[in-house]
């Protein structure tokens, strides 16, 4: 009767108070430059870090992606993290470390993310790590300070919503489209207060990269965490990763992980079903991830609900979405900055030229190296796009990679909020293949015709 979420929760529950709030043990705590508020709270009370061996730091939010002088405030953010990690004995993957990258890319890549763990980070896209069958969710600075000081968190056990995706995805349709699809259907508050478990044949057929994209976007539907039961695909991804168990410990871990699935008779507080075959490539038109429509659709009519977003986005109601000119593209982020994402974008761009400028920022230094070895970087630069270093970059604009006011960006990121990519920036969310297609067309366009005759 037990769900995957509850199985993992139960083994981490230290105690439960009468008011229903539990104290949970945290297996992995990931910190980044933005964790400065939490480190300051610790310093104010002169508290040590409880488990530096379970804490890992990485520079990503403010990481420079292109050569040139680094402004003082950004340099201060980077060195602040390095200093805090050094002071507390926390291993940190800094700007020059080959293991550097976006925290939600490097966790799995380094084998820090494992099935059955609890993983926290002061970043809402921590839900990404749930792709491995971990309970992973974002926390605020007060909670980061609490984990640093105690390696635990006070949390109320959330109800679990199951989202089942059965059937086969059509060519050109990706995990990003599934995610934007369910968020458009249920709304950005649709899974509020819940943990999500993704299930179904389409999810089982997905690579780890695709599962990470799916879990990553859980927070955009209101769920603090999303998870997928581990299977052979998970184990194959993890085996041999630097921090993953090895030898006898690996065998022991795999035996344990095989039991990490929801029981057949597990009860979910909500059960949502999606037919994979019905999903088309999606783009967002508005200023919330729930404002997503198939690329074959038209800009919605002006209503009380849509007027603000349409005005901000500068779109005309009733016009086809396809053909909307874009000024630039961005390919990267913790949502879609992994090697498979870059391959999908390169498959569209190969032998073609971009009509608009674009920035490609790989999700990690390791992804960057691999993409260069595979010739993907060459494809991007041949097409006229800029190949950059890894970081959160233009998804959040903290490092100075921003979209200018009024400019329209086709972006593989996770949030089309007002001003997210820069003050006045207009963001359209889509998959890497769709962003690549937008670069080629200089406009929002359906990638599927461009994929004909290509794999």
């Amino acid at each position: 009767m037990t769900t995957l979420f509850d199985k993992v929760w139960d083994r981490h529950e230290i105690l439960r108070r009468d008011d229903g709030v539990s104290l949970i043990f945290v297996d992995r705590h990931l910190v980044h430059e933005g964790s400065h508020h939490a480190f300051r709270k610790l310093a104010e009370r002169n508290l040590p870090v409880k488990r530096a061996d379970l804490t890992f730091g990485v520079t990503d939010h403010y990481a420079p992606t292109r050569p040139g002088p680094v402004p003082d405030n950004i340099r201060g953010m980077l060195s602040g993290l390095l200093e805090n990690c050094a002071k507390h004995g926390i291993r940190c993957f800094g700007p020059d470390d080959p293991r550097q990258g976006i925290v939600h890319v490097i966790g799995p890549e380094q084998g820090l993310t494992l099935p059955g763990l609890t993983i926290n980070c002061g970043d809402s896209h921590t839900s990404t790590h749930g792709a491995f069958g971990a309970i992973a969710f974002g926390i605020g600075a007060s909670e980061v300070a609490h984990v640093l000081a105690t390696q635990t968190l006070w949390q109320k056990r959330p109800p679990v919503m199951r989202l089942t995706v059965d059937g086969d995805l059509a060519p050109g349709v990706t995990a990003k489209d599934i995610a934007l699809g369910w968020i458009a259907r249920l709304g950005t508050g649709g899974a509020q207060g819940h943990a999500v478990e993704y299930a179904g044949s389409a999810v089982r057929a997905m690579s780890m990269e695709a599962r990470m994209t799916l879990c990553n976007l859980s927070i955009e539907g209101g769920a603090r965490s999303g998870m997928v039961a581990p299977d052979e695909t998970t184990f194959a991804y993890l085996q041999g990763r630097p921090f993953a168990p090895a030898g006898a410990a690996w065998e022991q871990a795999c035996d344990d992980w095989r039991a990490l699935a929801s029981d057949d008779d597990a009860r979910f507080s909500r059960d949502i079903r999606i037919d994979a075959a019905e999903i088309a490539p999606l783009v967002t038109w508005g200023t919330s991830p729930e404002d997503a429509l198939p690329i074959t659709g038209t800009v919605p009519e002006r209503t009380d609900r849509t007027a603000e977003a349409l005005a901000y986005m500068g779109l005309t109601p009733g016009r086809p979405l396809a053909g909307t000119p874009v000024d630039q593209v961005f390919i990267g982020s913790c949502t879609n900055g992994r090697i498979e994402d870059l391959r999908a974008a390169a498959a569209v761009l190969s032998g073609r030229t971009a009509k608009v400028p674009g920035l490609v920022s790989p999700g990690s230094a390791a992804v960057k190296k691999r993409a260069e070895e595979e010739g993907l970087a060459q494809i991007f630069t041949d097409a006229g796009l800029t190949w950059a270093a890894s970081g959160c970059s233009m998804c959040v604009g903290m490092n100075g990679d921003t979209v200018e006011a009024g400019k329209r960006c086709a972006s593989t990121t996770n949030r089309n909020f007002r001003g997210r990519q820069g003050q006045g920036a207009r963001t359209h969310l889509m998959s890497p293949a769709m962003a690549a297609a937008a670069a080629v067309a200089g406009a929002l366009t359906d990638v599927r015709p461009m994929l004909e005759g290509r794999t």
Binding site: I14, I139, R415
Partner: protein, 183 residues
Amino acid sequence: MTGWTRVEGPALRFPYDNVDTDQLIPARFMSTPRSEGYGKYFLHDHPDRDTLNGATILIAGRNFGCGSSREAAVYALADFGIRAVLAPSFGDIFAANAVNNGLLPAAMDPEDIASLEGTLTVDLETCTVGGRPFRLDPAARDKLVNGWDDIDLTLSRLQQIETFTRQYHGTIPWSIPTQGDTR
């Protein structure tokens, strides 16, 4: 954090749905130390920002505070002078951050919210504002009223945590990361 039971002050309306944390505080201000005050960054790029001057209570739309985990969004509200936000629903992480900083995220029925205006009294004893009920987890209420600090509460249970951890790592030794850098 100081506990509180009752707050009285002007309630002003910011009636938009899905007000995300990127709007509450744009990312470019987040490298600033808190000691410099975050009130000036509150809704910095929003055209209606100045209509909210003097507000103690914010009357907002559904899914308020959705988006990122940045606690700076709560700092901006608190430093601006807001003590309570009334909305039909809140982003989960935002609501937790709010309570950790003494800011009340009061979930209310839209009809009740629509009836409120002027100077209002928020009462954590009765869980009402302007005589209308709001929903708040009892644990969150206790925390706001008592001004409890989680770290102090937890450190008082250190022995229990140590015992649990020893047992847990004994059963699941593979959960401790290997020395990846030495391989």
